[in-house]
């Protein structure tokens, strides 16, 4: 190959490297929304993905059912035992809810951090190169989804809505390594301890809860919930349980390792949570990754 890189080709190569660097710079600058053509491409592809994934789910479901049949008897017995417990709990819950409503009315509290509205969505894709941890869902701004809403499964929090199109959006999972990917969380207990979920250790599969007060009293197996103090998530979504506690690099705050309650891989259907209590004014939360 004598003329492998002739002058013309060299120029083309250089120009494409310049375009590459420009595009990377453009997309790494914290963009609030996608451009129109991007939204259009995503929505059209999302529509086709929705068509393709439904039959695939059906077939995959058949295999999974066949596998599960073996455990049905055992599971059924266990669940029956739980059922009595459940009836008792639900009566207790209703009583407490009534009582709580009465108190709230007496105190004239109209909204609380725990209020939210739920929307279910179908997972239509997951980025196949595992460098980033994003999934696509088939709900977009037409269905009332906006950026930074919390996304959960029936087990617990999995992430937040990242980019929104008209009929599809992407969700950034908690396992994604991105510096703006943090959630304000609290350790549930008599004296709640507040911190931030920041980062994920792929080797152990644990989330890292940072910036807790150094003299906080935390024990393993305590529940970690969203605190609702970030202004976007509601309070009380389950994140996981504490596994291990240690001081941070400088010995000023505590770090805890949290075993996530949700499975970040078996994602078929997810629930998008919209907080109904007042959120911070738009100008105040500007430039913040959302918590």
């Amino acid at each position: 190959m004598p003329h492998f890189f002739s002058n013309k080709r060299l120029i083309v190569l250089l120009v494409s490297i310049i375009i590459l660097v420009a595009l990377i710079g453009y997309s790494t600058s914290d963009r609030d929304r996608l451009t129109r053509p991007e939204q259009f491409m995503r929505d059209s592809v999302g529509w086709i993905q929705t068509i393709m994934i439904r039959p695939a789910h059906f077939v995959a479901g058949l295999f999974e059912n066949a596998r599960e049949v073996r455990f049905l008897y055992e599971e059924n017995r266990l669940l029956k035992a739980r059922l009595d417990e459940y009836a008792q709990l639900s009566v207790e819950r209703n009583l407490l809810k009534d009582e709580n409503d009465t108190f709230k009315r007496m105190l004239e509290i109209e909204e609380s951090l725990t209020d939210y509205r739920m929307r279910t969505a179908l997972v239509i894709h997951r980025s196949p190169d595992r460098w980033n941890q994003h999934i696509g869902i088939n709900r977009g701004s037409e269905h009332g989804i906006t950026r930074n809403m919390a996304v959960i499964t029936s087990d617990g929090l999995i992430g937040k809505v990242n980019q929104v199109g008209l009929f599809s959006s992407t969700v950034q999972l908690l396992t994604d390594r991105d510096r703006s990917n943090r959630v304000s969380a609290m350790v549930h207990g008599d004296n709640p301890v507040f911190g931030f979920i920041e980062g994920y250790d792929p080797e152990t599969g644990l989330l890292v809860l940072r910036k807790m007060e150094i003299d906080a009293e935390i024990e393993p197996d305590q529940m970690v919930l969203t605190s609702g103090l970030g202004g976007i998530f509601p309070r009380g979504l389950v994140i996981g349980t504490i596994k291990d506690i240690e001081p941070d690099e400088y010995g000023l705050t505590l770090n805890a390792y949290v075993e996530p309650a949700a499975d970040f891989y078996m994602l078929d259907y997810v629930i998008v949570i919209e907080r109904t209590s007042t959120t911070i004014e738009d100008e105040l939360e500007e430039g913040d990754g959302g918590m």
Partner: protein, 174 residues
């Protein structure tokens, strides 16, 4: 009409990698090795080898851009690297086209080049902190195995399809 079949196949592979493959992906069932499907890249390399460099690069850039927009949110990376490998690995010589192992090996080499390029870029951009050793064992080797298998399966049907396309074109010209 017949010209649309090839883009449609590549597009279906593009969709397949993100949706149906993800329902079968081993890490869904607790395997820590990452098998990354690069089926679209394999077909694009075959296009470069059998239908010419220009077509391969065109497919690489267009579908790379689609990949960027839909799956990664980091624009430009796949567009650049897929165009580049389609250009560099376009070995459209008769001995390569006739053999079975050479096109398959070329496709696998292209995937290795692509994975290394992306690893380097993402490492520089601080998207990943994966060490090189872990990258090799957890990601590169399983990915090579998966895609080698796919390339070996798809090569003969692809050659038949290209021959069929050429035959149709010839009858249309007459």
């Amino acid at each position: 009409m017949i010209r649309l079949i090839l883009p449609l196949i590549v597009f279906l592979l593009f969709i397949f990698e993100g949706t149906i493959f993800q329902l079968l992906a081993p890490d869904r069932y607790g395997v820590s090795l990452l098998y990354i499907p690069r089926f679209m890249v394999i077909v694009i390399i075959f296009i470069s080898i059998y239908l010419g460099k220009a077509q391969g690069v065109l497919y690489g850039v267009v579908f790379g851009f689609l990949y960027d927009v839909v799956y990664t949110e980091m624009l430009g990376l796949y567009m650049f690297v897929m165009g580049l490998v389609a250009y560099l690995f376009a070995l459209n010589y008769k001995p390569v086209q006739r053999s079975f192992t050479l096109p398959v090996l070329t496709a696998v080499m292209a995937i290795v080049a692509l994975e290394y390029f992306l690893y380097g870029m993402y490492y520089m951009l601080n998207v990943t902190v994966m060490q090189h050793e872990a990258f090799l064992w957890l990601r590169l080797y399983p990915t090579i195995a998966l895609n080698l298998l796919f390339a070996a399966i798809i090569l003969l049907p692809f050659k038949k399809f290209v021959a069929y396309l050429a035959r149709i074109e010839r009858t249309l010209e007459e």
